[in-house]
Symmetry: C2
Subunit: 204 residues, 2 copies
Amino acid sequence: MLPMTSSSQLIEKAVEAFASLPGIGRKTALRLVLHLLKQEPGVTERFTRALLDMRMNIFQCRICHNLSDEETCRICSDPRRDHTIICVVESIRDLMAIEDTGQYRGSYHVLGGVISPMEGIGPDQLNISSLIKRIAESEIKEVIMAISPTIEGETTIFYLSQQLAPYGVLISTIARGVAFGGQLEYTDEITLARSILGRLPYSR
Amino acid sequence: MLPMTSSSQLIEKAVEAFASLPGIGRKTALRLVLHLLKQEPGVTERFTRALLDMRMNIFQCRICHNLSDEETCRICSDPRRDHTIICVVESIRDLMAIEDTGQYRGSYHVLGGVISPMEGIGPDQLNISSLIKRIAESEIKEVIMAISPTIEGETTIFYLSQQLAPYGVLISTIARGVAFGGQLEYTDEITLARSILGRLPYSR
């Protein structure tokens, strides 16, 4: 594929800016730049203003580390939610995915990753001490580990369960098993084995 | 697919900004926003600065309508190029594609589209009067029509050839035929017929 270089330095720099974003190649970047050039200058102004506003004014919630427009996020400051349950997630994306189900009305704690010696991520790089502080200082009944069932995820759950043991809080993990719509024959052995061992009484 | 809505208005607006660009959906927009949030604020500042700089300071070349950092584009102001030949193109993208071949050393004229009664684009919406003015006022030997061989493209070439007839300038079109690597059996009839009628003596 041809590089499609422009004779304009301004365009080249704008193309490079877009192409520096993950998953955006030079061709796509050029298409986006030419799109902005076709629109009124106000379109580019509003686009860049929205991004700058977001990046400069966002807070990390002082309680759960969710991203927020205020010092305390909407979930942590919502009196209708159950703040005695904490759902521990790896990332903001996972928090958003669970929120989208509309099935959970407790609070969250965003770890910011999982323990991964391979990538040099130990417990100190994660939001673990703030989780322990929350559990020590407020009345928490249950901590739900909504962490991916990978080796790193399981390690993190094991580490957290040890750290939280002294506080006598109920620790649960999200259910693992064959996904809805999943085909048994294509399910990996570990998942299938667990879904048999963890079988439940049938109910309609 | 879940909407993945954020509890932050700032994030929602930034996601909407990215998702307003062509070919970028909400999922991708969210990924880009979370990417910018992971980086230093300076990354977002430089990104938005490059786009604003480009959009606010770009010129349309006063001669050929190419996009340019100056009033006259680099190609039009380059003394090493042959300014007696004009290659007429529909768009900046086509100009860039031809430049990338490195095979053309003349000048350009960007029409800004092709005549399309269906889309309400007539000759007055295109940069045609400035092309005629160039040919009337300076010494032009040849005008190359590098326009897509579509119905609208052919209409535009026909219209231009009539408008330019009084100036006695040589008008040529780019060669049409079976593309390199193209399979004869999958080539459409019109192209195949033209490539037979327009056959050339074999040379190595």
